[in-house]
Symmetry: C2
Amino acid sequence: MTSSLADRVLAGDPRAMARAISLVEDEDPAGADLIRAIFSRTGRAYLIGVTGPPGAGKSTLVDRLISLLRAQSSQSARSHDPSAVSAGSAFPTVGVIAVDPTSPFSGGAMLGDRLRMQAHAADRGVFIRSMATRGHLGGLARATNDAVLVLDAAGLDVVIIETVGVGQDEVDIIRTADVSVVTLVPGTGDDVQALKAGIMEIADVFVINKADRDGADRLVSAVEANVALQTFQPDAWRPPVLQTVATSGTGVAELVEAIRRFRAHGQPTQAARRKARCEYRLREIMSQRFLRHLERRVLGSGELASIVDRIAARELDPYTAADDLLGRAFADSRRR
Amino acid sequence: MTSSLADRVLAGDPRAMARAISLVEDEDPAGADLIRAIFSRTGRAYLIGVTGPPGAGKSTLVDRLISLLRAQSSQSARSHDPSAVSAGSAFPTVGVIAVDPTSPFSGGAMLGDRLRMQAHAADRGVFIRSMATRGHLGGLARATNDAVLVLDAAGLDVVIIETVGVGQDEVDIIRTADVSVVTLVPGTGDDVQALKAGIMEIADVFVINKADRDGADRLVSAVEANVALQTFQPDAWRPPVLQTVATSGTGVAELVEAIRRFRAHGQPTQAARRKARCEYRLREIMSQRFLRHLERRVLGSGELASIVDRIAARELDPYTAADDLLGRAFADSRRR
C-alpha cells in the first residue's frame, strides 16, 4: 500500500501527494514509512521561505511569484542558468506549503486552498497545500518539513513555504529554507512593531509589500537602517529591501531576480542550512518518538495523568518528575 | 547559592527574581534546581494571557491593565471577593512576562523593559520582564513557563503573559493561561487576515483595541459572527467582544470586569488548564533532557554531526536515524 503510494508520489501524482501530506499531517505511522521510502529522492527542490505578520499580503505575493516563475520557466529551462531559481530542471514546477494556523471551525484553510488553486487550476505544474495548526511540541514544524519532502520527491523544482505566523516554530521553519523572504507592510502605523516581529535577522530578502501605501518610504528606510546596523563579512550577502504591490504584480520580477542572485551567491550558506534543517528534523522526530515510547511502553494506563495531577497539586515538581520518568524509561529497557 | 537565591525569590526580592529568570532563560542547570526548590510555593498567581498580531497595541493595553489592577487593589483586597482577579491576596501585585521575539541586534527587548518599567517605577508591586526568542524546540515556551513560576513563587497575585507572536508555541502558552485575552485591531484593511491568526478559538475575551479607528464596528461584527458560529454548551462561557482605546484607557475597566466574570465562571476550566499546563511543561522538559542525555552519554563527540551529514547527503533518512539513535540510547542503558 504505502510503497505504491510512494511510487505515485515519486511519479508526481497530485492525488498521491495530497494523500501523503495528509498522512504526515495526521502523524500516521504510514507517513513516516512514506518519508523513509521517498527520502533518497529528495534534496533537489529549491526551498523559498516567505514569512511576515498577518495582513502583509503574503498569499497574494506568493501567487504572483508562482505565475512569474511559471511564465519564465521556458527560458530558464532552456538556458540552464545555474543562478536560475529553478536551476537544473527541464520543466520548472512550483509547490506551495502554506502554514496557516487558521481556526478549525472557520474552515479557512480548505477554503483558501480551493480559492488559490483556482487561479492556477489550468497549470498542472503548480501544487498548493495549506497546513493547519495541529498537535503539540513542534508537530506542525515536523509535518511542514515532511510535506516539503513530499513535494520535493514528487519532482517540484521550487517549493515555497509560506507562514502567517511570527512564532518560534515559524522562525525555525523559515530560517532553514534555502532563501528567506521577510514581508512587511507599511501604513498600519505600527512600523516599529513590525520591526519587532522577530524575523529581522533571518531575512535574506526584505519585501515591503503594499508599497503604494502611505508610509512605505519610511518603512523602507527603517528596515534599511536595521540592516545597516548588522555587521557583515566583506563578501557576505546583504539583504536587499524591495518594494512590491502584489495585487498589481509590481516589483515581483525584482523579487525573483533577488532570489536568483541570492541563490547564485549563497551556495555555502545553502549547504549549512540544509544540514541545520536535517538536524532540526532529526531532533523533532526523536523527541516525539521518545515521548511516545515512554507513554506506550513504560507507563501504565492513566499513569501520566496521575503524575500530571500530582504536579498540578504541587506534590511533585516537573523537573523531578521528568528525571524519574527518564530514569524509568532507561531502567525499563535494561530489564528487558 | 541556589537555595539562597530560591529563598530570596520566595521573599519577593526583585533582583533575585530577575536573576532566576535569567537562569531559566539561559537553560542553566541551576535554573532547574531553582524551579525544584520553589515549585511547591507556586500555583497561587492568576495567569492572564494576552496575545494578538504585532501592532495590536498589546503592550499599551497591558500597561493600562496593570495600572487599573493596582489602583483597584485596596478594594478587592478588603472585599475578598472570590471573583476578584486577585482573589485571596491582601496586597494584589502584578507581574508581566512579555514574550518578545525581538531581534538580538536591535536590543529591543531590554530597551522596552526599561521604558515600560519607568511607567511603574514607583510601584514596587509591579515586575516586568521580557523574554526574547532563544534556543530551539520549545525552549522559549519552557523558559516562559518557568519565568511565570518564578513570579508566582515570589508572591505576585496576577501574572500577565504577553506574546507578540501568533505561532504555535505562543498559542500553546496562551491557551493554558487561566484566562486568554485575544487582541485585534481594526483599520489595517486586513480584518479577515487578523481573523485567520489562529487565535480565534483560544480566546476567553476578545479585545478590539484602537476602537476609535475606522473599521472598528466592522471588525467587532466579524468577530461576533465568528463567535456565533461556535457551538457552546448551555452553561458555557461565551467570549465577549470588548472595545478599548488603550492609549487613553477607554474600555480597560470593562476588560478587568470581563476577566473577573470569567474567573468567577471558569473554575472547572481553570483546573483543566492548569493540568494541561503541567503536562505541557513535563513533556517539554522530558524531550529536552532526553536529547541532552543522548548527546552527552550515548553519542561520541562529533557523531551527531556525522549522522546529520549522512541525512543531508540522503544516505540515511531521519526516521531511520531517529529509530537507530533511540535503540542505541536504550541499549546503552542496558549495558551499564
